[in-house]
């Protein structure tokens, strides 16, 4: 076993011992692709093996579906607690899975998976569990934790501290005056209220390649991690591709494709067209992705476009449809959390903006966009982001009663851009 594998195994064993121990709560900090999902699956298996029923709280329906498919694949009898409008995704397992909008419909399941919003409607007088598992605990808000916390005597929280902080449609200013900060992360609230809670970091990212992991670790994380893959393990082979940004990214893992500097509307048509062209090339040209399991052609499901705003998503999706490209994921950073692709095309949050607002500077947003890929990430942006950053030094107020973010968004943005400078490709 490699040393990375040994360190990972040791961390998993430590989590298991803690879960079987007496701590009321355990937090696992996991960088992108550090085997968090595998950990949840592994722990669920072990808990079921010792006769426990395992409720798992996730944050989005997509995450719940992915997890149920994985758990059922591991042979666990799994229940999917869902809302009225949920429909099963493609490839939904027929064996080992029950679904229902009420807990009563999931009798006999060893593991029950649902979103936090759905779990909030389960009443504590209906049923409580000795141990609950919360996945993506840094994506979940304290407000969501308050609604499910009473269901579980003990908690295991697993999450990526580099995720987006919870947000609200309400005027944040009004909420910031509260003595309790309802938009803290679930893990943050728990650690604040129970400071003795053990935090176990997972030390190895299995997703990110050796040449992309250090950039993410340096720019966005306080606990450093390394890539588990060896430099020779992964390769993206482009046989007949035209675009230099894709060729560069295939070789180096990163490319920063820069369009001429301009102040443009949020749905920058030139950026939309560039991204759609790149995605079109990726899925129509002859591309194969190589890893230790062997080479295989890059499929549409292997490619994702990460954007910042929902209207950007709508415009990119429509542009892809016009080019006849379907099956490529296009979504906002918020909804890409916890997902993984071979190649990611990322819309830089600060591209074409006149200012640098807190929303667009948030470290988590850029981190999510830049850490979804296994092979390569192409960041697409208007030039001039550097100047823009320096024109808007961080001016976020310090709020009483809350902990400052571990990683400063402005500095994370600057550091990321600096590390990407050698990969800068001007658009033709």
């Amino acid at each position: 076993m490699t040393s990375a594998g040994a360190r990972h195994e040791a961390a998993i064993e430590e989590v298991w011992n803690r879960v079987r121990g007496t701590d009321r709560a355990v937090v696992v900090d996991s960088p992108p692709g550090a085997g968090k999902s595998t950990l949840v699956r592994e722990l669920a298996k072990r808990l079921v093996a010792v006769g426990e029923h395992v409720p798992i709280v996730v944050q989005t329906n997509d995450q719940a579906d992915d997890l149920v498919i994985a758990l059922a694949g591991a042979g666990l009898s799994t229940g999917r607690l869902h809302g009225q409008e949920w429909t099963p995704p493609a490839g939904w397992p027929r064996q080992k899975v029950r679904t229902g909008t009420k807990l009563g419909e999931l009798g006999g399941c060893d593991v029950i998976v649902g979103t936090a919003a759905k779990w909030a409607y389960v009443k504590a007088d209906e049923r409580t569990w000795p141990l609950g598992v919360i996945d993506e605990a840094y994506q979940m808000s304290a407000a969501a934790l308050v609604r499910v916390g009473h269901l579980f005597d003990r908690l295991l929280l697993v999450g990526d501290p580099g995720q987006l902080a919870p947000f609200t449609v309400a005027d944040e200013h009004s909420v910031r005056s509260l003595a309790t900060w309802p938009l803290d992360t679930a893990a943050g609230t728990l650690l604040r209220n129970h400071p003795d809670t053990p935090v176990i970091p997972l030390p190895v990212s299995w997703r990110l390649a050796p040449h992309t992991a250090p950039v993410i670790s340096d720019a966005f994380y306080t606990r450093a991690f390394t890539a588990g893959a060896a430099p020779s393990d992964r390769r993206l082979e482009l046989a007949s591709l035209a675009h230099p940004a894709l060729a560069h990214a295939a070789e180096h893992g990163w490319a920063l494709l820069e369009l001429p500097a301009a102040h443009v509307p949020r749905t920058d048509p030139a950026l939309v067209a560039t991204i759609a062209d790149l995605a079109h090339q990726l899925v129509t040209a002859d591309v194969s992705t190589v890893d230790p399991s062997g080479p295989r052609p890059l499929s549409r499901a292997d490619v994702a476009v990460g954007v910042v705003h929902r209207d950007q998503k709508a415009h990119v999706e429509a542009a892809l449809q016009r080019r006849g490209v379907t099956g490529v994921t296009v979504d906002t950073a918020n909804r890409l959390q916890g997902r993984q692709y071979e190649v990611v095309l990322a819309w830089h949050p600060l591209s074409g903006r006149r200012d640098a607002s807190a929303f667009h500077l948030e470290a988590g947003r850029l981190c999510v966009l830049a850490s979804r890929h296994r092979q390569a990430c192409v960041v697409i942006s208007r030039a001039g982001v550097d100047e823009q950053l320096h024109a808007y030094p961080a001016a976020e107020p310090v709020w009483l009663g809350t902990d400052p973010p571990q990683v400063d968004g402005w500095e994370a943005n600057r550091a990321f851009l600096e590390r990407l400078a050698p990969h800068r490709i001007p658009a033709r």
Partner: protein
């Protein structure tokens, strides 16, 4: 494209404000209480002059010859407090109202005030000042002042809630309904704003705005030149010779401007027909007023400067539901607001050119279900992808395909059974398909007390505050208001007119009761009402 930007550019090129709404989106009371005033420079707690009242032509005027003298200051404010009590006493009549309770399915009858008071001030700074006045008045021994403080505290607290009309500012009234060609921060100046909307004949908006800036400010900070030249001699004369005539004259003259401008703003918005949902939102204000009155009568009014524990989470839920509801209601009420969504491409307008009401699909369970199809001819290409959800009233549909001038839609809810097919739009009907569906009912599923993960494991010094019962929305009105009815202490029989027992607070205290309030200078009003009944009211 952003319609907001377009309207601002249009206003700029025309040198005149353009309408941003065709309905009034704020409730306007037939008899609001207006207040405009100045405090001593740099001392918000020392009012110099306040003009207030419900009658445009006969306002009341309060002046304080030596505002730093507590006795004089509170004697003058006593007059305002009594007048406020008289005004509020008009709003005590209740009527039985049927409303949903529990999970929203059962009905109950509860008493609600038929109308609620409304305070309108010139600008944001004055609204903030009203909250500040309430904050220190309610901590006084004098029962009349303390009662006024409690009322002002309630009024100011409603300001944090989107869609509430209890405390309105003239600047907000105008910016909600017009767009000017100046910077948004410049819209905060009431005189400039009015100049853009109604410039005097023969002047363009820029000139009118410059002229308005030369006039006395709308307060509560006064003009330094006026302070030096007019106020100072007037105050000295009042102090040394006991002659307040000059002070009163100067105050009446200088406050006539903001007073007139605030009424002018009200007049302008009154010319617009009210939006359909405005009355519904005002009903939520009426319920809040009803509960506030009950607490005043029962002597249980209390304020905490910063919410914590369960009320903090409930407040967030309240804000989120209200924010979303207000956005949706304004768009559905007002074609000019909906136009913003058309401009961004979130909504689509067009004519139904073809229908297939018999279209069916096979659902996940293998059954064939009715999913009618519609084709809508649009004037511009619809640039959102297939799969986008749109609504026509209660009829929900999903975009199947779009060309340069046609959108193909499949109806997915609201008209997918034979008896309901009549709800579909006919061919040749003009439709606006909105990104808002029917109001969804999300009950506030917060627990009664915080669960262990969000509660400190260290011992807690103070007892948990009670449930905040002042938070209700037009969306989850049923549930939360019913909670209020059960948790708010019932009004004591025969206690009508009783004012709360004042708290024993040292005379020098003008800071908020809670030490936490002074902690953050960014706290919006410093006064969020809560059911926290500590402090012995």
């Amino acid at each position: 494209m952003s319609l907001d930007v377009y309207q601002r550019l249009l206003a700029l090129s025309q040198a005149r404000a353009v309408p941003a709404a065709s309905r009034a989106h704020r409730h306007l009371s037939p008899r609001p209480w207006l207040l405009a005033g100045y405090h001593l420079a740099g001392e918000p707690s020392a009012p110099v002059a306040i003009r207030y009242g419900s009658f445009r032509d006969s306002p009341k005027l309060l002046t304080v010859a030596e505002p730093r003298d507590r006795a004089q200051r509170f004697a003058a404010l006593g007059g305002l407090a009594r007048d406020l009590a008289t005004y509020l006493s008009r709003y005590t009549v209740t009527e039985p109202v049927v409303r949903a309770t529990g999970s929203g399915r059962e009905l109950d009858v509860d008493l609600c005030c038929v109308d609620a008071p409304q305070l309108i001030v010139p600008n944001e700074a004055t609204a903030h000042w009203v909250g500040l006045l309430g904050q220190y008045l309610r901590s006084l021994d004098d029962p009349v002042l303390a009662a006024a403080g409690a009322h002002l505290g309630w009024i100011a607290s409603r300001r944090n809630l989107p869609g509430s009309s209890v405390l309105l500012t003239a600047t907000d009234l105008l910016t909600a309904h017009w767009r000017t060609g100046q910077l948004p921060t410049e819209d905060g100046h009431l005189g400039r704003l009015l100049a853009w909307i109604e410039p005097p004949a023969g002047t363009d908006a820029w000139q009118a705005a410059r002229d308005a800036e030369a006039m006395p400010p709308a307060g509560p900070a006064s003009d330094p030149a006026w302070d030096a030249v007019v106020l100072r001699p007037a105050l000295e004369r009042a102090k040394e010779q006991g002659d307040v005539r000059r002070l009163k004259l100067a105050a009446a003259e200088v406050l006539a401007g903001p007073w007139r401008d605030t009424w002018a703003a009200i007049d302008l918005v009154r010319m617009l027909p009210p939006g359909e949902h405005v009355a519904k939102r005002w009903e939520s204000d009426r319920w809040s007023w009803t509960r506030h009155r009950e607490r005043v009568l029962a002597g249980t009014v209390s304020f905490s400067a910063r919410l914590s524990d369960v009320p903090a989470y409930r407040f967030l839920h309240e804000l989120e539901t209200r924010t979303a509801a207000l956005e949706r209601q304004m768009a559905l009420d007002d074609p000019l607001v909906m136009a913003r969504y058309l401009a961004t491409g979130e909504a689509v307008a067009g004519v139904v050119i073809k229908r297939d009401p018999e279209h069916t699909v096979v659902n996940a369970g293998g059954r064939s279900v009715l999913r009618p199809l519609l084709w809508v001819r649009t004037s511009a290409a619809f640039d959102r992808p297939a799969g986008t959800d749109l609504w026509w009233g209660k009829v929900g549909m999903v975009v199947r395909a779009a060309t340069d001038d046609t959108v193909e839609l499949m109806v997915t809810s609201g008209a997918v059974t034979r008896p309901k097919l009549g709800l579909l739009p006919d061919t040749d009907t003009e439709v606006v398909l909105a990104p808002f569906g029917p109001l969804q009912y999300f009950p506030d599923n917060l627990p009664d007390e915080l669960p262990w993960p969000t509660r400190s494991s260290r011992p807690k010094p103070a007892p948990e505050p009670e449930l905040d019962d002042d938070l209700d929305t037009d969306v989850v009105l049923g549930t939360t208001a019913t909670t209020a009815a059960t948790t708010a202490p019932p009004p004591a029989d025969g206690a009508a007119g009783r004012v709360p027992e004042p708290r024993a607070v040292p005379d020098s205290t003008v800071t908020p009761a809670s030490p936490a309030a002074s902690g953050s200078t960014t706290a919006p009003s410093g006064a969020v009402p809560s059911g926290d009944s500590r402090g012995g009211w």
